[in-house]
């Protein structure tokens, strides 16, 4: 069942890619996106079938020591396929209208191909096949980022992205080869059944973690992320951030957890601390941005950090033998990932709508869009609410569960595990607080207030299909919070095979709409009931006002010191975030300079390039040292060759 659905899904994407070549450009692209909707729906069916009915597996022997290459979909992979399908369908729907499609028909083909490549990663049973599709996905990722010809900065963004991606792939390959040394097979199942000696396993763990982390955008290897997403067309950015990004978490779950198995305590601690730092740093830099797209991209780093927090807690609990904590951490991580996929795609589509209306994403030039495009502003608010973790949204449910998971740190036997849990919890609390501030700033300066520039006359006439796509995503994001018990049951079933049994049974209190963090009598909360109670609470003050108010008041002009127009005297996004910039000046290290009596201050994210700069310095240092033997003299080089030949011959003789 799931196998057939999966095959048809791939077929739909392939047909979609081919359809882009049909004669009429507009119609061909529309047919292409209809096929991607179809493929997405089939992917949803595949995922659901794999979680509830069991997956499928088939394989062929490739020979040459690579081993069997197979497609094998288990419940975990099924969950990722489901997530990819659910988020991609509305994004494809959004892309259906010619106005939001990319400038060339190749866009539709690339769009379909990257979806197919992503799905193939989730079913690859063989490390070799996995890496192959991973690279295919990376190349398509690059082409989508660098797609728009006239968009500023997209070339540089594309190059940085592909360079970072190469680094990540190299690290992952190294990790796979380390395991291959021992297992002699590239099939994940056989790799998992061989236990590696401690040092080797740890080396493989760290290499793979950093390699996958590059794609996830974790600190300090996130350099490419804030540049790449804003450079891509909006629907491509939504697809990349919402669907493709998840391969990184799949990689960590599949390789670092499933293949490498239970590890020492410090693996979990490493993941936990990297996640905590990513969450805090991501949102801190996000707040300092004045570009809407960049802010949304930085928020991806924050959320990648939160997912890593869950995974880290899971690994820590696993190594300490705490099955419920291990299961809880994994479940929360997957839940948060799903929430982030839906909300982030929604926001990127919103950014696209804003850009369509105004031609810019500079928050200091926007404003007042709520009146010009009411529907988009409401849908954007749903996404912003969700990502800011405001109740009763999905973000609130997942962030609450993440915090509760980290609070279970006291159950760990060792102090070395407890302290990072507490530290990570406090950094997560900081990050979610700052996220609220960041989204207040974004929504306030883009949608509220008065317009700061001229907008298109038909700003509110966004195409029907694109509005429908955004509405679907908003509905999905809202359902993740309101219907939390259902989703937790699904994720519990999907993640059951990895570290512990189905943990979701332990997460329901009485009545079962109430959630608890796997351990009873610790804390309990119900996002579902909250979604009912909070609107009711809103009714109370409205009722009081309705009863008490005597007059309807008087509407006057906005007071602008007697001027006719506000003329840029409003609170700017920069002004709103300036207190944060001041308080965290020691972190931001702003570059201040006075040139010809003009004072400027810029925030250059030193943390972004620090990792790469250090690596580049090391490389340059080595090459400088190597320069000693590079004389440029031909005879010298011939002598080297001769020496090497001698060494090889000696080695052969000794053997």
């Amino acid at each position: 069942m799931s196998g057939a659905a999966f095959g048809f899904s791939l077929l739909a994407f392939a047909l979609g890619a081919l359809a882009a070549a049909l004669p009429d450009k507009r119609i061909s692209m529309q047919i292409s996106f209809i096929f991607s909707i179809l493929g997405g729906l089939l992917a949803v069916a595949t995922g659901a079938a794999a979680i509830y009915g069991g997956g499928f597996g088939w394989s062929v022997d490739l020979g040459y020591g690579i081993g069997r290459a197979g497609a094998d979909l288990d419940a975990l992979g099924g969950f990722f396929v489901l997530a990819a399908g659910m988020v991609s369908v509305p994004v494809s729907l959004y892309s259906l209208d010619h106005e939001v499609q990319g400038s060339r028909r190749a866009f539709a083909a690339l769009y379909n191909l990257i979806l197919a490549a992503t799905l193939l990663i989730f079913v690859s049973d063989n490390a070799f096949a996995f890496l192959f599709f991973w690279e295919v996905m990376s190349v398509l990722f690059y082409s989508l980022v660098a797609f728009e010809d006239l968009k500023e900065g997209r070339m540089g963004a594309g190059y940085v992205m592909s360079a970072a991606s190469k680094l990540g792939t190299a690290l992952i390959l190294a990790a796979f080869l380390l395991v291959f040394l021992k297992s002699g097979s590239f099939v994940f199942g056989q790799m998992a059944s061989t236990r590696l000696p401690g040092m080797l396993a740890s080396a493989a763990f760290v290499l793979a973690f950093v390699g996958f982390g590059v794609k996830a955008g974790m600190v300090p290897v996130q350099l490419w992320l804030p540049r790449a997403y804003p450079a891509a067309p909006a629907n491509a950015a939504a697809l990349l951030a919402g669907v493709v990004l998840n391969v990184a978490f799949y990689g960590i779950a599949r390789f670092n957890m499933s293949v490498l198995g239970k590890g020492p305590e410090w693996w979990g601690i490493l993941v936990l601390l990297v996640g905590a730092v990513s969450a805090a740093v991501g949102i801190l830099y996000g707040i300092a941005q004045k570009d809407l797209g960049r802010f949304v991209a930085y928020s991806s780093i924050e959320n990648a950090g939160i997912v890593l927090l869950g995974l880290g807690a899971s690994m820590l609990g696993w190594s300490a033998g705490l099955k419920p904590l291990a299961g809880l951490g994994l479940l929360v991580a997957l839940y948060h990932m799903l929430h982030h996929s839906a909300s982030k795609s929604l926001l990127f589509l919103g950014v696209g709508a804003v850009e369509r209306a105004s031609g810019t994403t500079d928050m200091d030039l926007l404003g007042g869009l709520a009146r010009r495009m009411p529907l988009v502003s409401v849908l954007f608010l749903v996404g912003a609410f969700s990502l800011a973790g405001m109740p009763p949204s999905s973000g609130f449910a997942t962030e609450w569960l993440s915090l509760e998971t980290l609070m279970q740190g006291f159950r760990l036997p060792s102090l070395a595990g407890r302290i990072p849990m507490a530290l990570a919890g406090s950094l997560l609390a900081l990050a979610s607080g700052l996220a609220i501030l960041g989204f207040v700033k974004v929504y306030g300066s883009v949608f509220l207030g008065r317009p700061r520039s001229e907008y298109r006359k038909d700003a509110d006439k966004a195409p029907l299909s694109s509005r429908l796509g955004m509405a679907l995503l908003a509905l999905l994001a809202a359902s993740l919070g309101v219907l939390a018990p259902l989703w937790i049951r699904l994720i519990g079933r999907a993640s059951a095979g990895l570290v512990s049994g189905d943990i979701s049974e332990r997460m329901f209190g009485t009545p079962s709409v109430v959630l608890q963090p796997a351990y009873p009598n610790f804390s309990a909360l119900s996002p579902t009931l909250l979604a009912v109670a909070l609107p009711l609470l809103l009714l109370a003050p409205l009722g009081i006002v309705a009863v008490v108010r005597r007059s309807r008041g008087r509407r006057g002009e906005v007071w602008a010191s007697g001027e006719r127009r506000l003329g840029g005297t409003e609170y700017t996004s920069r002004g709103f975030s300036n207190p944060i910039r001041t308080v965290f000046a020691d972190f931001y290290l702003p570059r201040e300079e006075v040139k010809e009596r003009i004072y400027t201050t810029r925030i250059v994210p030193w943390i972004e390039s620090s990792f790469y700069e250090a690596a580049a310095r090391l490389l340059l240092w080595i090459t400088r040292k190597m320069k000693v033997i590079q004389s440029g003299n031909l005879s010298a080089y011939l002598a080297y060759l001769f020496a090497v030949l001698l060494v090889i011959l000696l080695y052969a003789a000794v053997q």
């Binding site: 008087r554 006057g556 002009e557 007071w559 007697g562 001027e563 006719r564």
Partner: protein, 161 residues
């Protein structure tokens, strides 16, 4: 813009204020002399805070609009806007000779000749400039906390002859 009209009599409006009042000063083309006198109100000698009076920079917080100058044409609209921006109830005082009726500027191509051509004035404080104590007297008069010193009288030459 609609014709600005006061709602209710001065006594009715004043009742709401209690013992504290915030004043917004608008310079509608004054020569600058009145401003010096108004500044002097805040010094320790006159110390208008002791009677519960405060200046505020925004009409949104003000109960009383203190207007100086003959109302130049350029200032007509901002003056109306400031009055519109004030919450009800509100009082208007024309402070200085030109504000009361044009003064030496009179009514010309550049000036409207008095605040009452734009806004409903409650109290006129004459003098060019009015000394601080006159200004204080005018404000307290509006609040009903002091008596009016000069009544309107009419003298006709040759009457009773």
């Amino acid at each position: 813009m609609d014709e600005a009209r006061a709602i209710g009599t001065l006594e009715e409006r004043v009742k709401a204020f209690g013992r504290s009042l915030h004043v917004r000063h608008v310079d509608a083309g004054s020569c600058g002399a009145c401003e010096s006198e108004i500044q002097a109100l805040q010094n320790p000698y006159y110390d208008l805070h002791r009677v519960g009076l405060f200046f505020t920079p925004s009409p949104r917080h003000a109960d009383l609009l203190l207007v100086t100058g003959p109302v130049t044409r350029a200032m007509e609209r901002p003056l109306r806007a400031a009055y519109e921006a004030m919450p009800e109830p509100k009082i208007v005082i024309a402070a200085c000779g030109p504000a009361c009726g044009g003064g030496i500027y009179g009514r010309s191509y550049a000036t409207l000749g008095g605040v009452d051509r734009v806004l409903p004035v409650d109290v006129y404080v004459p003098g060019s400039p009015p000394p601080p104590l006159s200004l204080l007297h005018g404000i307290l008069l509006a609040l009903g906390r002091m008596e009016q010193k000069i009544e309107h009288t009419q003298h006709t030459t040759g009457a009773g002859r």
